[in-house]
Structure formats: C-alpha cells, structure tokens
C-alpha cells in the first residue's frame, strides 16, 4: 500500500492538466463579481464558501439580472443537480468511509477532482485511496481561490470594452463540446436555449434557467423513449 502522502500527491499530479481551464474561469469570476457589484470580501467568500464555478457564475448572472434570492438559490440547486449522477457512480467507492471523512470530502467533490479520482478509485482498492480525491480537490481549491483573488485585483485594470463577460457563455459552451456530437443532445441544447432566450423577459421571477432546463429534460425524456421503440 502506498503512503497517504503518495496517494495525495498522485491526486495532485493527475488533476493538474484539468486545472488549465480553471485559471481563466477563476479570473473571469473575480472580475465579473466586482463588476456586478459584490465587494472584494464577498467575492472571496463566494469562492471559499460555495467553491463551485458553475454555481458561482449562475449566482452572478441572475443577481445582475435582478432575480430574487429564492430564484437564484433554486437555480443554483438546479445547476448542481447534474452532480446527482456522479454520486451514484462514486458513492460505491466511498461507502466504507467514516462519516467525518464524507463530510470533509464533500467540500472538495468538484467536477475535475471527481473525473480524475473516479478512474483511480475504480482501479485501486487500498484503504487510503480517497486521499487521491482530497489531493485533486485541494489542488483545484488553491487554483480557484488564487485566481479569484487575482481577478478581484485585476478587475479594475481590465477595460470593460474587452467584453470579458462573453467568456461566461464560452466557458459553459466548452463544457458541452462532447454533447454537440450526439443528435439528441443537440436537440435538447437547442430547445433549452430557445426557451431561455425567448422566455427571458416573459418567464416570471427570472426563473428562465429552471424552466428552460425542465423543457430540455422533458425533450430528452420524449426523444430517448422514441429512440428505444424504434
């Protein structure tokens, strides 16, 4: 069995390539949060408390659009619902963990660390294998906090003309690159995008994120059912 430190370091090494896109994402978040009207301390607190890129960007987007707190919180919940699928996959590898470790690891269970450690946990049955997940999560934590901080500082120096807020849709677009190759996913993407855009001004309480997501999932349900019968 490898030592805890070795497994932790392996987690750091394995997750490193995935950290490259996190750098611009964190910078953009820091810049935008200040732009939208949060104080530097609040911005830093968001990265420390929430520690989730998609959650934080959705918060900013809806906050700047004037959405109510209830809508913002439920939209953040909806964005996080994608994690439920990971849970079904990763929980079997972590079922023998003590509760205290589950409480700690949950904070670090972000997409990148999950993606990397899931592979490791599949192949490795050592008792200390979850240190891999902590290593990957801690790496991402350091990058996310430091780039948020840099974004806060640089924010004032970056001219608004650069249109850096456009990096937000691009970042989410980048997360979908593999889905653009699948026909049903493309239909779901178009339906959700159309509902959100056309409903932006008409869906009450700025709940367009939730309504569009439900419309997209409903489309997926119908299309996958037909697919099976055929």
């Amino acid at each position: 069995m490898k030592s805890n430190l070795k497994v932790f370091l392996k987690g750091i090494i394995d997750v490193s390539p995935l950290m490259i896109p996190v750098v611009p994402f964190g910078l953009i978040f820091g810049v935008l949060a200040i732009d939208v009207g949060f104080t530097p301390i609040e911005t830093m607190a968001m990265s420390l408390i929430i520690f989730g890129g998609a959650s934080q960007i959705v918060l900013l987007q809806l906050f700047s659009g004037g959405a109510s707190s209830l809508v913002i919180i439920s939209s953040v919940g909806a964005v996080n619902s994608r994690h439920l699928l990971y849970g079904a996959v990763v929980s079997e590898h972590l079922s023998d963990l003590k509760l205290i470790w589950k409480i700690i690891i949950s904070y670090f269970l972000i997409d990148q660390a999950f993606a990397i450690s899931n592979e490791y946990l599949k192949k490795n049955k050592d008792h200390n294998r979850y240190f891999h997940l902590v290593g990957g999560g801690a790496t991402c934590w350091v990058i996310w906090q430091s780039t948020t901080f840099l974004g806060i500082i640089l924010g004032a120096a970056i001219p608004e003309k650069l249109g850096l807020s456009f990096a937000v849709p691009l970042t989410f677009l980048a997360l979908l690159v593999n889905d653009f190759r699948k026909f049903i996913n493309v239909i779901v993407i178009i339906i959700s995008g159309l509902v959100a855009t056309l409903g932006y001004n008409y869906i009450p309480f700025k709940a367009y994120v939730i309504v569009a997501a439900l419309a997209g999932l409903f489309t997926a349900m119908i299309l996958t059912r037909k697919n099976k019968k055929a």
Binding site: V58, H83, L85, P169, L173, A174, L175
Partner: protein
C-alpha cells in the same frame, strides 16, 4: 435577503448536493432510465445560461443583427467539436470576438 445570506444559502445547497452524492445516494436508487435522463442534465441546463448571454443585449432585448457574439460563439463551438479542448474553445471564442469588434 442580504448578499451574505445569499452566498451562504448558495454554498449550503452546493455542499448538500455534494454530500448527498456520497453519503445518501446509492447506486441502486437510480435505474437505467433515470440515469439516462440525468445524463442529459448538462445539455438541458447549460444552454439556459449560454443562449441568453449571447442573444440578449444589455437592455434585455433579443439582438440578432449586428451581434458579433453569435458568430464568435459559432466559431468557438466548431473549434470545440473538433478539438474537444475546453481551453481551445474558450480562447478561440474570445479571439474571434475581439477580432470582430476591434478589427472588422
């Protein structure tokens, strides 16, 4: 609600999703059908953020003409499909956008 309460609640709900993933959810709880539907969640939710950010302008109206973001996003999408690289997608989109607003 104050900004601080908002941040705390958003943090709480994010944390609870993650915690429930490893502490509450068991593999048996999802049959293949539910898993299949859940796999569409990113495709269903991210466009709700992407599309309005491209098509809705600062004053909340849909803007199609004279909107460089549309072409830049299409370029980024194709770069993404072919490169499968997150970073190439983001930077090609930003570079095309800057090219369209500053050069063209």
């Amino acid at each position: 609600m104050s900004n601080w309460a908002l941040i705390l609640y958003c943090g709480l709900i994010t944390y609870l999703t993650r915690f429930s993933m490893i502490a509450l959810i068991k593999k048996e709880m999802f049959n293949d059908r539910i898993r299949e539907i859940l796999s569409f969640v990113p495709s269903a939710i991210f466009p709700a953020i992407i599309f309005p950010a491209i098509f809705i302008n600062d004053i909340g109206l849909i803007e199609i003409d004279d909107n460089p973001k549309i072409l830049a996003a299409i370029i980024a999408m194709f770069i993404g499909i072919f490169s499968r690289s997150i970073i190439a997608t983001i930077f090609s989109g930003l570079a095309s956008y800057w090219f369209l607003i500053f050069v063209v």
